[in-house]
């Protein structure tokens, strides 16, 4: 006797998150799987929405700087820089040279700190939890200490001001930064040695979550995500702001546009940031003003609109600022790079195994406060 029976299968949907270590914050993915294969994914965001844009409309121009720290909590200086430049563009302000150099040193160090955070968290996603996470955080701590000395805070710096900086850096800033840069250079080499040829990383990240250059552009990708897909585009080079036109650095790009390339691009970017910081330390004026003279306490930019964009660790961070001549922004829209990347998560994940979904999400390097604002 033979029994002929076809096995009936159904697709199963389940939640990953909102409270889940692999989602890097409060984020939910509704995964629909056929066995181990992901056939559908729906990202659910908004758990951290605090209305930063609405709040900024009800604060004056200086108070709104604080929301930038809380929006982009891994690259606070970069977010602050974008916002203050937007206001400066509206007001037509020139920033003293020394302040520009200090800003660039801090933002580039912040980029390294943010990428180190990525290295740590990403290796944990891969399942190499422990060693690398600790190495990355040890290096990040050197930078954090420097930031604390400069701004007085470990996380919410609020150190940049429209027209310059809140106060001058400590006397030993240049020497201290040189030490930190030296340590960071060694730290990057350590991470490179530990992870780049790691068997687990190679096996799990190559050929995963591929986005072609056309797709990446179509979905509004920017930063390392875009460059990993082979587009040599960096706002620091394409539309130089601040003093980036005086600095030498390379723009690393990937070839495949997969998760491994995103890792490699970020690793190389850290080295380039070290280069930039060293050039800044050499070129920086020894003393001089750190804030534009003659600024009033309450700022009233003339009526106008500007879309300012800067190259943040996660990509193009944009501030659309509308002024009506009052002391408060009329409208402040934050264009968050993670927000754009996350909208394409479904396209990157579908067709991969369930375990790869976590790796692909990790490679996006999301900051959910930035996504939800």
């Amino acid at each position: 006797m033979t029994i002929e029976r076809e096995l009936e299968t159904i697709d199963v949907s389940f939640n990953v998150g909102p409270q889940h270590p692999a989602t890097h914050g409060v984020f939910r993915m509704v995964l629909t799987v056929d066995g181990e294969l992901v056939v559908d994914l729906e990202p659910v965001i908004g758990y951290l929405h605090r209305g930063a844009e609405k709040l900024s409309e009800n604060c004056d121009y200086r108070q709104a700087i604080g929301f930038q720290d809380r929006t982009e909590y891994l690259a606070q200086f970069n977010a602050e820089q974008c916002y203050v430049i937007a206001v400066e563009k509206l007001m037509g302000l020139e920033v003293p040279e020394r302040a520009e150099y200090i800003r660039v040193i801090l933002t580039e160090l912040n980029r390294i700190a943010s990428h180190l955070m990525f290295m740590g968290a990403f290796s944990a996603d891969l399942g190499i939890f422990g060693t690398l996470f600790m190495y990355a955080f040890r290096e990040r701590e050197h930078i954090q200490e420097l930031f604390e000395e400069v701004s007085g805070d470990r996380m919410m710096y609020s150190y940049f001001r429209v027209g310059g900086l809140a106060w001058d850096v400590p006397d030993d800033f240049v020497e201290r930064t040189r030490v930190v840069v030296q340590q960071t250079r060694q730290g990057i080499a350590d991470i490179d040695g530990l992870l780049t040829q790691n068997e687990v990383l190679l096996a799990r990240s190559r050929g995963i979550g591929v986005m072609s250059a056309e797709q990446a552009i179509d979905w509004g990708f920017s930063g390392p995500m875009l460059r990993a897909s082979g587009v040599r585009h960096d706002l620091r080079r394409a539309e130089p702001y601040s003093i980036y036109d005086r600095l030498e650095f390379d723009i690393p790009v990937g070839e495949q546009g997969d998760v491994y390339d995103r890792y490699l691009v970020r690793l190389e970017e850290m080295r380039q940031s070290v280069r930039i910081v060293e050039q800044c330390l050499d070129q920086m004026p020894k003393d001089g003003p750190i804030v534009t003279a003659g600024l009033k306490r309450v700022l009233r930019p003339p009526a106008g609109e500007v879309y300012m964009r800067t190259e943040n660790p996660r990509g193009e961070y944009g501030i659309y600022l509308v002024s009506k001549g009052a002391d408060k922004p009329y409208r402040l829209k934050i264009r968050a790079p993670s927000f754009c990347h996350l909208s394409a998560l479904r396209n990157m994940v579908i067709g991969h195994y369930m375990a790869d979904a976590v790796i692909i999400l990790g490679s996006v390097d999301i900051v959910l406060c930035e996504v939800d604002r």
């Binding site: 965001i45 908004g46 929405h49 209305g51 844009e53 609405k54 709040l55 409309e57 009800n58 563009k89 509206l90 007001m91 037509g92 302000l93 552009i217 179509d218 979905w219 509004g220 587009v231 585009h233 394409a238 534009t292 003279a293 003659g294 600024l295 009033k296 700022l299 009233r300 930019p301 003339p302 009526a303 106008g304 609109e305 500007v306 879309y307 300012m308 964009r309 193009e316 944009g318 659309y320 509308v322 001549g325 009329y330 409208r331 829209k333 264009r335 927000f339 754009c340 996350l342 909208s343 394409a344 939800d372 604002r373």
Partner: protein, 243 residues
């Protein structure tokens, strides 16, 4: 720079509307689409083009497909509530091929905030439009899914509209919804109840005015700090009794 120039307050002047320089991207747009009415001006960083909303699909399609424009990248899409002037949708575009930028704007009437979606041109617009929909109530026709993204379902108001208050947020959101009902009643002919909150704010403003005036008066008379305090208290008391 003279000392006087150094001390002048930057940013009190009104920004004049400057036409874009000849040969700018605005001219290319006019060449590609000669029958569209473009309003062009030079913004702080980019050229700003204002487009009538019925032309948005045509302009956006051409912006991406025409080789002279080749705007393959949607940088940002924002909604702006301009109150009496209606709602604005702003598209910031970039071209990787030509490395040029443009800002395209369209104005929607506040009572009919509808515009064709651009998700058919750039996939990246999907979430931006969803966000603009839930924050401003702008309807993007043809968008595959305009469900809530950042906010909870069934909220019943659009938080980024200027009509939506922020101060004392917990109460006022409720107040806002409740205020809708009396406003509708007033429109129907019934007398609107006295707005207590507005009255409180008015009283506080009046008090501040009286205090300021009394303090100035006291200073002009040259009273000591204690006497000045008493003088201000007196003025406040007479206001309360009078009101």
């Amino acid at each position: 720079m003279s000392a006087a120039e150094e001390r002048r307050e930057p940013g009190v002047k009104e920004t004049p509307v400057v036409p874009p320089p000849p040969g700018s991207i605005a001219d290319t747009f006019k060449k590609v689409l000669p029958d569209v009415e473009f309003g062009a001006s030079q913004g702080v960083l980019d050229v700003v083009l204002t487009v009538p909303r019925q032309d948005i699909p045509r302009v956006m399609r051409a912006a991406k497909d025409d080789p002279r424009l080749a705007f393959d990248y949607l940088r940002c899409l924002s909604g702006i509530d301009q109150m009496e002037q209606g709602l604005e949708v702003v598209y910031n575009l970039y071209s990787f091929k030509h490395a040029h930028n443009v800002t395209i704007k369209t104005v929607l009437a506040a009572d009919d905030p509808q515009v064709e979606t651009v998700t058919t041109v750039w996939n990246g617009a999907l979430w931006h439009e969803r966000e603009a929909h839930e924050m401003f109530g702008i309807v993007f026709q043809g968008h595959p899914d305009l469900g809530p993204l950042l906010l909870e379902e069934g909220l019943g108001y659009y938080p980024l509209l200027k009509a939506h208050p922020l101060a004392e947020i917990e109460e006022s959101q409720e107040d806002f919804l409740r205020a809708e009902a009396p406003a509708a009643a007033a429109a129907a002919g019934a007398a609107a109840p006295v707005d207590e909150r507005a009255a409180k704010i008015a009283l506080a403003q009046k008090k501040a005015e009286v205090m300021k005036k009394a303090r100035e008066e006291a200073r002009a008379k040259g009273l000591s700090p204690e006497d000045e305090k008493a003088f201000v208290q007196e003025a406040l008391k007479s206001l309360e009794e009078g009101g």
